[in-house]
Amino acid sequence: MAYEVVIGLEIHAELSTVGKLFTWTANRFGGEPNSRIDPITLGMPGVLPVLNRTAVDYTMRAALAMDCDVQPFSKFDRKHYFYPDLPKGYQISQKDLPIALDGHVDFDVNGATRRCRLTRIHLEEDAGKSIHAEGRDDVSWVDYNRSCVPLIEIVGEPDLRSPEEAIAYWRAVKEILEFAGVSDCNMEEGSFRCDANISLMPEGSDQFGTRAELKNMNSFRYVHQALEFEIRRQTQILDAGGKVDQETRLFDVDAGTTRAMRNKEEASDYRYFPEPDLVPLDIDDAWIQAVRDSLPELPRARRQRLVSEMGVPEQTAAVLTGTRALTDFFEAAAEGCGDAVLAANWVQGDLLGYMRDAGREIEDSPVSAPELAELLTLLKDDTISGRIAKTVLEEMIATGKSAKTIVEEKGLVQVTDTSAIDEWVRQVIEDNPGPAEDYRGGTAKALGFLVGQVMKLSRGKANPQLVNQALRAALE
């Protein structure tokens, strides 16, 4: 039978606040195990949580960026379960009154725009990390650095109809969070991960089937693999007339399959109750407005502006709005040189090409946006040629010197002095009588060879257009 796939994602994103959610200790990834801890992170006897207001700001930014309603009254609850990486024996989370409700995210799949509705966004603390020794079952360690890091959970409606849509939606959320500046969404570091609910129903039906929940995936590829596997698994069960169990399943990265969690791994009763150590959160309109005002332009809007107002080709605009840092870089370079299309080509082509080869992000670019703009300005006003510009950029990357300095030091200023060009032209024709004859005889492509020779003689400094003109004049 043909089935329609129904998928809903619960996305977890760690917020990039300076401090942790309930304590002053630095919120940063990594470090020596248990180096970013304090009595509150460890849940020592007698400690109390104090809410980091910036984490609330960030949650509100994420919520507003995804068109959610920020709630005037929300509260925190304790969610209980025993696990070594959970220091207090409960996680401070939000159960029935989250910070935000009812939003949506638009995303593009195969050229069409789709929408996923959001149920809610709530704020909670992350847990530590258990480290199990390979090949040993008698000992495990726990690193509490991640414990108490602020985490938002974005609960989406089951509006997604294929693994491709799920991935596209997840990417769109990632972009929004990055642009809103609330999470670095680093999937390798686990700061951006998701659970997926997936079920099948006969095509044309509006009755959802029984769902399986896939836990804790942190790569686009894994989510795709896990969902594809689940579709096959559930299809087989349903085709054989069986019933899908409602259960939590784990994705096995190595096998590319999912397996049901053992009962022990699944806590059945979290015994939620209102966190008595925190007062409820009152958010007034002024606070919401202040956060709304601080919200930067979001990726979809920005992409459209790049195309419609700046004339950047659609494909290039899509690349340049991949991350907020990259778009910021591009816009700064475009403004600096006054030519958006030129800047777009250089950022997307040469600079990103270099960054890719070097395995680095735009944030680590050895050439800043104003520095690139300076180079592009030299190119635009014909001080240097496009070819020279490429070598100058390489030099900038290698030495960190400015474009002007390099051009001056190396004498790379483009020669527009026609008498010098005429002299080089004369010499090239003299040295290459064959091609010169060919051109005169009607072989147009011989001109290209002669231009190349002149450029070579000028060590790239001659203005190619002037060389072209001078050669034609001399040969005709």
Partner: protein
């Protein structure tokens, strides 16, 4: 002339402060006198879990050198203060009288400790209590039974029994305890001292090991009302580390101590004078109420109809919160861990099974049950609703009266062992103190008489939220007009 013979450890904080200022005594002498006293009597009273003499003597010498240099001293400088063992003290063991925290040394000081250190108070040590503050007799300590200094065969009350007994036996001039459902007021009543639970939010809970977070509040024990006010001055105030601490100005509580209750409206709730109240207690409390009237207060019969549900409500809410707060004692990061467990679950089971005493386990089970899916609405949620009704009883009453006066406990101190086999009987010791805890109100207990056995009887004075001043003023006026607080020790107790 009698006063001249009184040893330093038997004086009040304000008396010691004056003597220190007048250079009649040194801080070192005060400290030595107190530690001598502890050595002399604590093997019988057993109030102290740990005595911290070395650090205390260092503080005393520091105070003396400041005196020497003529530097100004904070009000509690050189005053010997003992600390209930569930307040975290950096570098000193904090066990909560539980086996599960036997090896635990806090890496940080509670906010109240930082405040006391800033005052240059002499910290005498850590005081015994019911395990995790769960109990009304201090018999639930995993380590020892504390005796009532008035009669060593009787209980000091609880859970802050060590704190009450230490003040009663002159083993400290002031002590800190904590009150969740009566754990300061009831032992103060049993030991014949002044004990006060301030309004919820007045004193930072940061560093107070949590029993029931929405109820717990730190407060002082003292020998008289003036000392209580002095102690409150030192420990009250907003703390950014406690989100539930009130961000409001704290008055100078000693400034309001005038012996004047003219026109003060005193509420007498009928529901606190019911069957089960000991006759001698009722007689003493009624006499105290008459005394207030003689002093100019007006008496008002009031009704608090939901009082009878207090104990049931309290014993849902407090265990529910406790079951959550005590989840962290899992042997993973600090405290006791079982030897050689089979696996993780086994480690949890054995660590907690070995570490917690019976009463703690009982309350964890009650609380876990009350919060479980399917029972939450019937128990926890309903209890929270009744809690609101109890609070509304008080709100209505305080529209008519300024303070409410009741017995602190249904009886004078019961004998050690008398109620240990009957948890319900033990829970009923809190019947008059739990309601105000659930409403977050300030409440004070002070001696108002003695039983025929010579055991103290306590008077409870409750006030409006953040109106400790009126409670203290009434207590002070009553104290000035009576002499119960001057009576020292029964023949069966610890002689001065």
């Amino acid at each position: 002339m009698a006063e001249a013979a009184t040893p330093l450890h038997a004086l009040t904080a304000h008396e010691l402060r004056d003597k220190l200022r007048n250079r009649e005594v040194s801080a070192t002498q005060i400290a030595e006198s107190t530690f001598d006293r502890i050595r002399a009597v604590d093997d019988r009273v057993k109030a102290y879990m740990v005595v911290t003499q070395d650090a205390a003597m260092e503080t005393a010498r520091d105070v003396d050198s400041r005196l020497e240099r003529g530097e100004p001293l904070p009000p509690l400088a050189a005053i010997p203060v003992g600390i209930k063992d569930l307040i975290c003290t950096k570098g000193v063991r904090t066990t909560c009288s539980s086996k599960i925290l036997e090896p635990f040394v806090s890496p940080y000081d509670a906010t109240v400790m930082r405040r006391l250190h800033a005052q240059k108070a002499i910290i005498t040590g850590k005081l015994n209590m019911d395990e995790f503050a769960m109990g009304s007799s201090t018999e639930n300590s995993a380590y020892m039974e504390t005796a009532n200094p008035w009669n060593l065969a009787h209980a000091p009350g609880g859970s802050s029994g060590g704190s009450a007994a230490a003040v009663a036996a002159d083993e400290a001039v002031l002590t800190l305890g904590s009150d969740t459902g009566g754990s300061i007021r009831q032992p103060a009543s049993f030991c014949g001292v002044v004990g006060m639970k301030p309004t919820y939010g007045r004193v930072s809970r940061f560093g107070l090991v949590a029993f029931a977070s929405s109820l717990d509040q730190i407060g002082p024990f003292s020998k008289d009302v003036r000392d209580c006010a002095l102690a409150l001055n030192a420990i009250c105030g907003h703390d950014p580390l406690d989100s539930t601490s009130a961000d409001m100005a704290v008055p100078d509580f000693t400034a309001g101590l005038v012996p004047d209750v003219e026109g003060l409206r005193v509420g007498i709730p009928a529901e606190y004078f019911v069957e089960g109240l000991d006759g001698e207690v009722e007689a003493s409390v009624r006499a105290a109420i008459s005394k207030l009237e003689q002093l100019g207060a007006t008496l008002h019969e009031i009704s608090m109809p939901h009082t009878e549900y207090s104990i049931a409500t309290y014993y849902i809410i407090a265990p529910a919160e406790a079951s959550s707060n005590l989840a962290r004692y899992d042997g993973m990061r600090y405290g006791h861990r079982t030897d050689d467990p089979d696996d993780l679950m086994d480690m949890y089971r054995k660590t907690r099974g070995e570490g917690f005493g019976d009463e703690v386990k009982r309350r964890i089970m009650i609380g876990t049950y009350a919060l479980s899916a399917g029972y939450f609405d019937a128990y926890y949620l309903k209890a929270m609703k009744v809690r609101t009704l109890i609070k509304q009883d008080f709100d209505r009453a305080f529209e008519e009266v300024d303070i409410i006066v009741t017995p602190t406990a249904p009886s004078a101190a019961f004998a050690l062992g008398e109620k240990t086999d009957d948890p319900l009987q033990m829970y009923l010791s809190d019947v008059f103190t739990a309601p105000a805890s659930m409403a977050g109100l300030p409440g004070l207990s002070m001696p108002c008489g003695f039983s025929s056995e010579g055991l103290p009887i306590g008077l409870q004075i409750l006030g409006k939220p953040f109106d400790e001043e009126t409670v203290l003023r009434a207590a002070y006026a009553y104290e000035q007009a009576t002499d119960h607080h001057l009576r020292r020790r029964s023949p069966d107790g610890i002689a001065v």
